[in-house]
Subunit: 207 residues, 2 copies
DNA sequence: GTCTATAAAGTGATAGAC
DNA sequence: GTCTATCACTTTATAGAC
């Protein structure tokens, strides 16, 4: 049996192909036929393993967001609530886990899937994301509120929304600002994080 | 003949319905059948008037972007190249025409269509937008470069990209931050412009 | 210009053999 | 758990009557 080799199980192969094709062609644009062909599995396997295309879409998000948001919350926990907490520290807790995912090889396309989810104003998808991961944004917003007590609620929501938009856009367009071959991977990631953090911090702190 | 009434010609009706359905369901998600039904025209009318779905998509962009980017360029012309030009003035030239469109009643959904075009990394669509409207972003970027001479080319591109992402996101999500009924339309628009300009200016100017 | 009718291909989902 | 075959539609696009 070749099952002991580095061949992923069917379910993982489908999730991987789905992530790539959803990123490139959208949720409606990528058909189950393209997707199962790319994964090298049978067409019927999607319905067997996931029940429907919609539930496959949810699993694509769940697989990445459980880990991504877990890391964000852990990082936030470490820097928040202290007397010396900085805006920059909180932003890093939000951004760095996403950049790590973006450079993961696998997973590098997930931020583009997430950017599509933002552009789709699909109610079902938004409810799924809000119910499962809404607490993350609420926690970060609460910490920003604590660090920026002079801002009105309205002003704060505006700025957090603008930061979210800027970061999602930037991270989904990742790879557009190419890493030069003489810059090592990790240094490039740190420079990117610095660009994003500096910009977002200035926007949040603006008078 | 009722044709002299306020009934729009077929071509305009199709463009209007297409804009709304592309905003709500995406380019692949909205079918020509839904679209022609919403416009109250025959299915075959799309191919008669536009040739194909792809060319209809291009016309949806052209109809709004010719005017929107024309106004942006005119506004930029007025404020740029002066010794007293400000970052805020240049940002207003970019933002205010888009907000006017967003509150136009008709056209209020176009920014969502534009946000989708960003999320789609479709090469054909990107080339169309770049060839026809790329000069606008280049002109604005050049003016930012003049006003922020201490920034490296790389740093400048990063910040302009982040501003673009933030603004597109914010304007496509428009209406989420609701205008309260006791605030008049124009005042609400001016307040929104101020939020966006303040945030973007701070990000661009950050040390 | 607008209509019906239809071609030709693609869609998600499922039943049932293995 | 994986396969083939197929159902029941929907898709874009077009030919040809009016």
């Amino acid at each position: 049996m070749p099952a002991s080799q580095a061949v992923l199980p069917t379910k993982e192969r489908i999730l991987g192909a789905a992530e790539e094709l959803f990123a490139r062609h959208g949720f409606e644009g990528a058909s189950l036929r393209q997707l199962t062909a790319a994964a090298g599995v049978n067409l019927a396997a999607v319905n067997y393993h996931f029940g429907s295309k919609d539930r496959l879409i949810e699993e694509v998000f769940r697989r990445r967001l459980d880990q991504l948001n877990g890391r964000r919350m852990a990082a936030l926990q470490e820097v928040s609530g202290q007397p010396d907490t900085t805006i920059e520290g909180v932003l890093a807790a939000f951004i760095v886990p996403a950049l790590e995912l973006s450079h993961d090889g696998s997973g590098s396309l997930f931020m583009r899937v997430l950017a599509r989810a933002f552009a789709e104003h699909d109610d079902t998808l938004r409810r799924f994301l809000s119910e499962n991961y809404g607490h993350v944004m609420r926690q970060f917003t609460a910490e920003f509120a604590r660090l920026l007590p002079h801002l009105s609620k309205e002003e704060l929501y505006w700025r957090v929304d603008l930061v979210t938009g800027a970061l999602t856009h930037a991270m989904s367009g990742f790879g557009m600002i190419q890493r030069k071959s003489d810059v090592p991977e990790q240094q490039h990631r740190e420079q990117t994080a610095q660009h994003l953090i500096r910009f977002a911090a200035a926007g949040l702190k603006s008078p």
